[in-house]
Amino acid sequence: MLFSSMETAWGYSRPLEAGDFLKHDSFTAALKRDARLDSDYPFSIISSPCLIQLAREHGLELFEAQSICLDKHILPERYLRNFSSISFSEQKKLADSQVLLVGLGGLGGYILEILGRAGVGGFVLADGDCFEDSNLNRQILATVDTIEKPKVIAAKVRLESVNPFCRIQTARAFLKAEDLPGLVKDVHLVVDALGGVEFRLVLLRETSRCKIPLVTGFVAGNTGLASTVYPGGKSPAMFWQGKNSDGAETVLGNTAPMVSLIASVQSQEAIRILSGKESGLSDRVFMADFETMSFELLKL
């Protein structure tokens, strides 16, 4: 079994019983009592501390409490500034969605930060690597405290502190093709935040076979690209020809401005797709070049 942390498996770990419904009823009553109306918004609002306290008092998992909250048309205040760029119904879709994030280095760290704050409900986090000194120039999860520690552990700790309403599974491993069907079966989207060209082709093939969309990003020095691949759609795989040692990044390195820019573009694509909007990068590639300060949407 690849998962090293199954304590927060998706959904309910057992069938719902009559007591659960009573628990939900009393939680809902308390929620409605403590939520506040605000004439500026077409929904009620509840603060995070209050929601956490109510969940504890009623013996609910935080993701479960958040789900009931959104079902009752009450917005957790932590998402208030997402509105109206993200509508209430889109926020609910985000909370109900699961993502496999492959790679927790430069791209992956920023993507996790953004998607966790945005309100994506569940993450499968996969990376077999540990942080090292040379990661500190750009990887947000790399700090003097996490050097030599597993990236998945740092990612889980960070996400729990940013958004405890998320469900998290971790896979501390450099993935192989045979790992992917099991990892993707419960997710709505795969985000490719890998380093190196080689495994990207495997991830592309397996996500396509499992009929799951893939949002990919790849960077080298002052150049960065991002694209979305739907099963059967066009892909930027031609950029990934050769061995890991052939990638331009081995010569040019990677810097925080470009890595965080591409991570932002990937995150926005993920939010669009998970919240039910149309992808903006299907069959296309967003390209940014800081050397010439040029930005272009390329067609595949």
Binding site: L107, V219, A220, T223, D289, K299
Partner: protein, 74 residues
């Protein structure tokens, strides 16, 4: 005819100084690689006017050619 050429990442050093190359009618991206002495094995994908194109596509006056190496950093 003149076309505009941009080479990216490790290939950026091959971008002509004024960004332009003078070519005869019927020229292809393949010929541009020859003209600019860009090692063929380092070129993985090219775009003409922002659209993915083959190495033997026919270029027209004023076209923009983008040339990329393998990129996979994260």
């Amino acid at each position: 005819m003149k076309i505009q050429v941009s080479c990216f990442a490790t290939l950026s050093k091959y971008t002509p100084e004024d960004g332009q190359v003078e070519l005869e009618e019927g020229a292809t991206p393949d010929l541009v690689l020859d003209r600019l002495l860009i090692p063929r094995e380092e070129v993985k994908i090219v775009f003409i006017n922002g659209q993915h194109a083959g190495m033997n596509a026919v270029l027209k006056h004023g076209d923009r050619l983008g040339i990329f190496p393998a990129i996979g950093g994260g």
